[in-house]
């Protein structure tokens, strides 16, 4: 692995040695390796990311494009060092190498004690507002809420018979599809605590850009408050107000729609993960366990639709 990357760098005029420090244990899709690249100018702690059959090669290319789009802006993100979009690489697939951001990645907001949690949540909202202020055109044509729902519906169709609660949610969403956003933005696609690097009470980086695309910015805002595991325990209303102040306003009905869509998406991940395990495509017990998160997600979805508190 390290030798292959060093050879690739040499082919591009960069004399370097590459030491593989280990593989990240978190993450269910792409391969993530921690490496140290030593060149004439010194050592760089870096991250090598590779696609897997589950993620597809497109995930790496999208990530590369997104990192280039946010480089040098106010959005904290790893710096893209090297990349290759092709298959003629030492790994026979595309890859990116980016700087390793200092800090740790908490599983969820609930793991961070107050008052650090609130401070980090405020920084996350500031970063999200900064991201949504960037020009999305380098990433392609915008995804509309309608096409987002349609694509998710097709994916859900492929995972087999759906729980009745999901059928009800799809019907609700289909009756209320918002218009395309007046001002599309770069949507991160998975903006949540599990993809944020924190160092003490400082947000140092936003990771996992493989789902980034131009689209409705409120889909990110809705998603970032959805509890993937435990409920966040942040003052959501205050954070939405903060986001609205930075961006010029939030349509509450539109945000509600995206929140319901977010729960639908989360349910899809649980169903798809369980299916991958059941079908023998993965032996990852975390995918097998995801099915147990499905009833939790569906209960939260139904509570959201009913206007009840989410527990």
């Amino acid at each position: 692995m390290g030798h292959g990357l060093a050879e690739w760098l040499r082919g591009r005029g960069v004399g370097a040695t590459v030491e593989v420090l280990g593989r990240a244990t978190v993450g269910l899709s792409q391969e993530t390796w921690f490496v140290r690249v030593t060149t004439a100018t010194g050592d760089v702690e870096a991250v090598l990311r590779l696609p897997t059959p589950a993620s597809g090669r497109r995930a790496i290319v999208t990530q590369r494009m997104a990192l280039q789009a946010v480089a040098g802006t106010g959005v904290p993100a790893p710096e893209l060092l090297w990349f290759d979009d092709g298959d003629q690489t030492p790994f026979s697939r595309p890859f990116i190498v980016m700087t390793r951001v200092a800090g740790t990645v908490p599983v969820g907001w609930h793991e961070v004690p107050e008052p650090t949690r609130t401070r980090l949540a405020e920084q996350a909202i500031e970063a999200l507002a900064a991201l949504h202020d960037l020009d999305p055109s380098p990433l392609g044509e915008p995804v509309t809420p309608g096409s987002d729902l349609e694509r998710l519906g097709r994916r859900l169709d492929r995972v087999g018979p759906l729980p009745p609660v999901l059928t009800g949610a799809i019907a609700w969403l289909a009756h209320r599809i918002p218009d395309p956003p007046v001002r599309p933005a770069i949507v991160h696609g998975d903006f949540r605590m599990g993809n944020l690097v924190v160092d003490g009470d400082r947000l140092t980086g936003v990771l996992d850009w493989e789902m980034a695309a131009p689209g409705d910015p409120l889909s990110d805002l809705g998603w970032c408050f959805i509890p993937v595991w435990e409920t966040a325990g942040v003052d959501e209303q205050a954070l939405v107000r903060r986001y609205a102040e930075r961006t010029g306003g939030v349509d509450p009905e539109r945000l509600h729609w995206h929140r319901v869509l977010g729960y639908l998406r989360l349910a899809y991940y649980a169903l798809a993960g369980a299916r991958a395990f059941d079908g023998g495509r993965s032996d990852d017990f975390r995918l097998a366990a995801l099915r147990l998160q499905l009833p939790v997600t569906l209960d939260r979805l139904a509570a959201t639709l009913a206007g009840d508190p989410v527990a």
């Binding site: 990645v105 059928t167 009800g168 017990f285 975390r286 009833p295 569906l298 509570a303 009913a306």
Partner: protein, 101 residues
Amino acid sequence: MTLTPEAWPAPSPDRLADAVAGLAERVGEGDIRAQLHALSGVLRNLGRESLDGEARGRLGAELADAVTAGDERRTIVLMRELARIDRAAVRAVDWSAASGA
């Protein structure tokens, strides 16, 4: 003398789950530890998905009817009831441990 219907008594899912979670804590490698915690969560829930099967079936059928009829208010009420039953049957997975953190 009472005979059990099985050839041998099966260990309880809870006992297996506790043992696997205990094993996880003795493992040094983070990835394996996370996998064992996830397996523990799966074991702890074996068989629990079938709880309240009759109520689930009835509510599911009523919900399908409400969706077809376009009765949104009733749809949401039934979604809420059904989801509550299903969630009550689940024993929580320790995702912090299972995520390898």
